[in-house]
């Protein structure tokens, strides 16, 4: 079994930096994609895959005992592919085929095309239900794994999320951890203006979940939150990770309209400098 033991925070920060550069490069190469939504989840995925949280074996992607990571916010595909490549699931050069014809590296992840991709996503709101299914399946198969589902904040507007939340509490899925990348923006603008999801902590608590709130870019806090979540029994846990959309590139952070568009080549040069210095 492969398990990254590198809990050295500086090392994890370097991985996060590299992932941001990957996202930047492949979305700019593709001329489209969702760089800012990918940037905001970088530290969460870094902690999971490279901070020793997730149990996985890239040589055996269907290993029945593996922990599951479900990327429910499918538009963060430009983050997911580099994470999986750097975790060893497939060669890194694959990520440059993003959004190209005759490539399995689809604009949004499709189950079955790339090793390590646990779910088709891109229509938002669906991933948490799959996570509940994996927990119930683990019980039937007598496997002791955990399931992590990364969701966007705008996604919490979808009714299915709350159907899944209700069922997760009903089935006492204490091996299920949801993470909400709470970057406060959706495609059309700030959630507070477009469709408010607050009070978010109270909503999840009311649905019977254990709620942990953290800074979603602070790697030690993220690692601690995952460890704390593991200690909870009888309840699913949600980590509300306060993040910044576009994190790592100042002019992307300042402009939510980067949601669904790539940086130009000139912008990418500036962004690259910032990421390298950051």
């Amino acid at each position: 079994m492969y398990q990254a033991n590198g809990k050295d925070i500086n090392q994890l920060k370097e991985i996060a930096k590299q992932l941001r550069l990957d996202i930047l490069q492949i979305t700019t190469e593709a001329g489209s994609g969702h760089p800012s939504s990918s940037f905001s989840s970088v530290e969460i995925c870094t902690a999971l895959y490279f901070g020793g949280i997730l149990r996985f074996d890239p040589k055996n992607p269907d290993w029945p005992e593996r922990d599951r990571f479900i990327m429910s916010k499918g538009h963060a595909a430009p983050l997911l592919y580099p994470v999986l490549a750097r975790a060893g699931y497939f060669p890194l050069d694959m990520i440059h085929k993003l959004r190209q014809v005759d490539s399995p590296v689809q604009g949004h992840p499709i189950y079955g095309l790339m090793p390590g991709v646990e779910a088709t996503s891109g229509s938002l709101g669906q991933g948490l239900s799959l996570g509940v299914g994996h927990i119930l399946g683990g019980r039937i198969n007598d496997k002791d794994y955990r399931v992590y589902v990364l969701m966007g904040d705008g996604e919490c507007q979808a009714g299915q999320v709350w159907e899944a939340a209700m069922s997760a509490a009903h089935f006492k899925t204490d091996k299920l951890t949801a993470i909400i990348d709470y970057n406060k923006y959706q495609e059309m603008g700030p959630l507070s203006r477009e469709m408010a999801i607050e009070p978010l902590v109270e909503k999840w608590k009311a649905f019977g979940w254990h709620v942990i709130e953290i800074d979603g870019h602070d790697i030690p806090s993220i690692l601690q939150a995952f460890e704390d979540a593991k200690q909870v029994s009888g309840k699913p846990q949600v980590i509300i990770a306060n993040t910044i959309k576009g994190k790592g590139v100042s002019f992307v952070e300042a402009d939510y309209t980067f949601h669904g568009r790539a940086l130009t080549e000139n912008q990418a040069i500036l962004a690259r400098e910032e990421i390298l210095c950051g």
Binding site: P64, R68, I110, Y111, G112, E118, A119, T120, S121, G122, S123, G125, Q126, G127, L128, S129, L130, G131, V132, G133, H134, I135, L136, G137, G138, I140, N141, K143, G159, Q160, E163, A164, M166, S167
Partner: protein
Amino acid sequence: MRLGELAGLKPSVPMRDIFGDAILKVATENPKVVVLDGDLANSTKADTVRKAFPDRFFNIGIAESNLVGIGAGLAGCGLIPWITSFSSFLLCNAYDQIRLAVAMSKINAKILGSHGGITLGKDGPTQMGIEDFALVGGLPTMVMLVPSDPGTMHAAVKAATDYVGPVWLRSSRVAMPYIYEEGNVPFVIGKANKVREGKDITIIANGIMVSAGLDAAVILAREGIQARVLDFHTLRPMDTEAIISAARETGAIVCAEEHLLTGGMGSNVARVVASNIPVPMRFVGLADTYVESGDPNELLIKYHLTSEDIIAAGRAAFAEKQKKG
């Protein structure tokens, strides 16, 4: 007159009860089978599994999107989920989830769309599944099965469970008579069954309309029109060979289905006929309308889904064929 009486078919119990027996049988034989319910298992009869194998039965409640998603997760664990509810609720509430998590993901999940057609009767049009062929038609990776009698229901549930990939199965509240001899039911996914031979026209039917087609063939024979009847139990993959043979060998085709004509079986058969060997065709099915509450037999008559309607269509198709001669 009772459905199938003219054709000498023995009556049976409602198809949903047969499904209840069939799903229990596959769950007993295969420990990977898991049944998921949208709080309708005593209507779909999937509750047979709840009683026998409570650890492999989950009521997800009245939340079809979550129902389908949880099913997809179970399939991702190597289990064989049977996702069960009314076809109208599954397709109309959870089409997006079926599209992404099941069809596009090509997972090994089975979906039972119960209460297909209008023959659930008195509960009315909100519950009727009259658009399932069209909507499942929009899911290109999904096998679609429509049993026509107790034997094909058992065979279809078994075949769906054994097949690796997404399958949709229609069930019904109504009883359909025995078409096949028990213990001798031919059922291969994608291969239509010839249940009556004939040289003058072919009746291509599925579900309850197969029995109606066999009744119609008896009357047409008295008039000198020998009708072949095909039980078209699989809508995808289509048995194009059986359609082309029917067109070539009988020269006229009537399609009959308990479904909207728009986007239904007939429109798909017509595409195959038109592209390969155009012959006169007629269609029995629902016009663009929602049906109403009522006794199933009265509804079948009012909405033109009886053997009489197939007979009229058969005469017309045959007459056109003769005229073209």
